[in-house]
């Protein structure tokens, strides 16, 4: 069930709005310490389900993402550090 296809692996900033995906890995090294810390606080971690909900009106940045029971907004650049596998719904 819900097994990701390997070729579907993408990064969170490229995921379409409304597509649920599972976080495969986060490139913590690409982030500043406080940014990484905040992302962890929001619950971004391997295995959690995420879903982009809304995009900012200018340059489709930032992105509002559902993670767990929370909705958080992060910039496109940070979303790029999170690789995800879309779930088959």
């Amino acid at each position: 069930m819900n097994a990701p296809f390997q070729h579907d692996v993408t990064s969170l900033d490229l995921l379409k709005v409304g597509t649920k995906a599972r976080v495969l890995s986060v490139d913590w090294a690409a982030l500043e310490e406080s940014e990484a810390c905040r992302l962890r606080h929001f619950g971004f971690d391997e295995g959690v389900t995420v879903e982009p909900l809304h995009l900012g009106p200018f340059g489709r940045d930032p992105i509002a993402i559902r993670v767990g029971r929370m909705t958080v907004a992060i910039r496109r650049r940070h979303a790029g550090a999170i690789s995800v596998a879309p779930l088959i719904q």
């Binding site: 009106p57 909705t71 907004a73 992060i74």
Partner: protein
């Protein structure tokens, strides 16, 4: 005497912590700063059932004891007993959002590990139900091993029960371990998810309200339109609602100075009371209506959860100059007055983002500059029609606003690459669920802001106004002398004149620059005073100020004066508030200096260009 037992209210952001704190302590709160940082300390008193008072302190919201912002550092240090100027809490009230247990339980578990007597307030159970979530507080209590009370702080529900639990806890002798066992975040998060799952009785999938609202409010087209509409209404209200109270205050001040004039014999004392103290207090409190109305809106936007959405919509644009979306509302508020704008920067987490916003806020054309613009434009810019419905005067006025905005963006851009270099925390924010705040909480927030402004800024403003008065009145002019010539201010004015002469400013303007520091609009009355004091002909009073200016100033001078006022170093209220918000004199002094250089440069450039063009 032993200090009161200290109970800390802690929790993740958006758990409804402040509302719970308000519910427990009421409006009698003390607001101060933690020493050395610009993080506010809110505290209040609470009586236990047996009449013993305890002190309750509202800690800044934090996601964990691993800090990602100065606020979270304070929270961690207080909880670990390492915060300067704060004693270690004797007990904890942990506030968690019932509809977001997976996340909030992580911090909650970390706090319980501290080993202090602890109560958990399972807050916002109404929102959880709205989301179709049924929870079992007893199961949560078993898993956490501490008492759990259900509350809805914004509706003041469950508060007596929480107080009862607090009573029981503080009455019982405490013999827990005080050795914190530190689990790492990953394990805590895993455990949090397990407990959250165990505490959920049932979950009915429903279309969430917040998501439905966001589809409209964060819509790429409708979102910005709605934001613009809300901002428009806010500004209309700030100007429309403040007029009446401001006129009351002005009447009151006029009445007071009339009464004082009658009661006191003429002389230095009367002059000090009337022109110094009463005028000074007047200057302080005429700011209040606008500040309070702006804060009403800001707190309402904050309380409903819309504020973060506004930041979301504007982030990309603000990011372009190195600011975050969070800076949008403070900067916009600064069009009314920089004081509430600067005070509103508290919502910006990142210290550098916040400081940049504070430093550029004064470049937003505040309403106090309008009278100056209006006067000069009316006097020098012909009222020609450029196109249907578009007049030259209006275009000039618009140009001044745009110059201010461009100046602010440019200044932010330069500051972020110079003195305030370094990337900020970016833009990472939780979008909280929409809810309607209790008006009482909004009122408490407004009162707190008013108190801060009057106490901290008010004293500095009053003091400086009296100093300005003294400079203008001492020594007293003898018969046949002009006060503006003999006074210290007059001498300073002549000193200023040598500095500003190259940019086309005459003596009248130099004399007005110093009093204009008290408040922008004072520049107009100061210029008026110069002309009425020095006026020789009988008709002086009858001639309109615009006409007199028109005859005595060249167009180049007038344009330079306008350019000066776009950037001019700030009024004392702004400087005082900047001092409070940055916790020292370093940044207000920097702000005044860089604005002075900008103003001087802009005025000079305008003057020399105008002269070269033969104006």
């Amino acid at each position: 005497m032993n200090p009161l037992p200290l109970v800390a209210v802690a929790g993740s952001p958006n758990a409804g912590k402040s509302a719970l704190f308000n519910a427990l302590t009421g409006a009698r709160q003390k607001v101060g700063n933690y020493p050395g940082v610009t993080v506010e300390r809110h505290s209040g008193r609470l009586m236990l059932a047996d009449g013993r008072p305890i002190e309750l302190v509202d800690l800044p919201g934090a996601y964990s004891l691993e800090p990602a912002s100065p606020d979270e550092e304070v929270t961690r240090d207080v909880l670990l007993g390492k915060q300067k100027g704060e004693r270690t809490p004797d007990a904890l009230v942990i506030v968690i959002d019932a509809s977001n247990l997976d996340n909030h339980l992580r911090f909650c578990l970390q706090l319980i590990e501290l080993g202090l007597p602890t109560i958990v307030a399972l807050n916002m159970v109404d929102l959880a139900r709205r989301d179709g979530l049924e929870l079992d507080p007893k199961a949560l209590e078993r898993e956490l091993g501490v008492p759990v009370t259900e509350t809805v702080a914004v509706r003041r529900r469950g508060i007596p029960e929480l107080q009862k639990a607090l009573d029981d806890m503080l009455s019982a002798p405490f013999c827990g371990v005080h050795e914190p066992v530190k689990s790492d975040l990953i394990n805590l998060q895993r455990r949090a998810r397990e407990i959250a799952t165990a505490a959920v009785v049932s979950e009915t999938p429903v279309r969430r309200w917040t998501h439905r609202l966001d589809s409209v409010l964060l819509h790429p087209v409708f979102g910005p339109i709605i934001l613009a509409t809300i901002m428009f209404v806010m500004f209309q209200a700030v100007f429309a609602w403040s007029q009446t109270p401001v006129s009351w205050i002005e009447d009151l001040v006029a009445w007071l100075s009339g009464a004082a004039t009658n009661a006191l014999p003429p002389g230095l004392l009367r002059s000090m009371v009337v022109d110094g103290a009463i005028a000074g207090v007047g200057a302080v409190i005429t700011f209040l209506p606008q500040i309070l109305i702006l804060f009403f809106f800001i707190l309402l936007l904050e309380g409903t959860g819309y504020m973060v959405r506004a930041a979301f919509l504007m982030d990309r644009l603000m990011h372009g100059v190195g600011l975050s979306g969070r800076a949008f509302i403070p900067l916009l508020s600064s069009f009314a007055c920089a004081v509430p704008g600067i005070m509103a920067t508290r919502t910006i987490d990142d210290p550098k983002d916040r400081l940049t916003t504070i430093l550029v806020a004064p470049l937003m054309t505040c309403s106090a500059r309008l009278p100056v613009y209006t006067l000069i434009i009316a006097a020098f810019i012909p009222n020609t029609r450029l196109a249907w419905g578009v007049g030259l005067q209006g275009v000039v006025m618009f140009g001044l606003y745009i110059t201010g905005i461009c100046g602010a963006l440019l200044a932010a851009f330069v500051l972020r690459r110079g003195v305030l270099k370094g990337s900020g925390s970016g833009f990472m924010m939780e979008l909280p669920k929409y809810q309607w705040p209790l008006l009482k909480d909004v009122a408490i927030g407004i009162l707190t802001r008013a108190q801060i402004f009057l106490k901290r800024a008010g004293t500095i403003i009053l003091g400086t106004t009296i100093i300005l008065w003294a400079l203008a009145s001492i020594p007293q002019a003898g018969p046949g002398q002009k006060q503006s010539d003999v006074s210290i201010a007059g001498k300073i004015g002549r000193g200023i004149e040598t500095v500003v002469k190259p940019i086309g400013f005459n003596q009248d303007i130099s004399m007005a620059l110093l009093p204009a520091m008290a408040a922008r609009e004072v520049a107009v009355s100061a210029i008026a005073t110069v002309y009425s004091i020095d006026g020789t002909d009988e008709q002086a009073g009858a001639t309109r100020l615009e006409d007199r200016l028109h005859h005595r100033w060249s167009l180049a001078t007038a344009l330079a004066f306008l350019a000066w006022f776009v950037f001019a170093p700030q009024c004392i209220s702004t400087i005082a508030v900047t001092r409070r918000e940055t916790n020292g004199w370093k940044w207000p002094l920097f702000m005044v200096s860089y604005l002075f250089v900008l103003a001087y440069g802009a005025a000079g450039l305008t003057y020399w260009t105008a002269v070269a063009l033969g104006l």
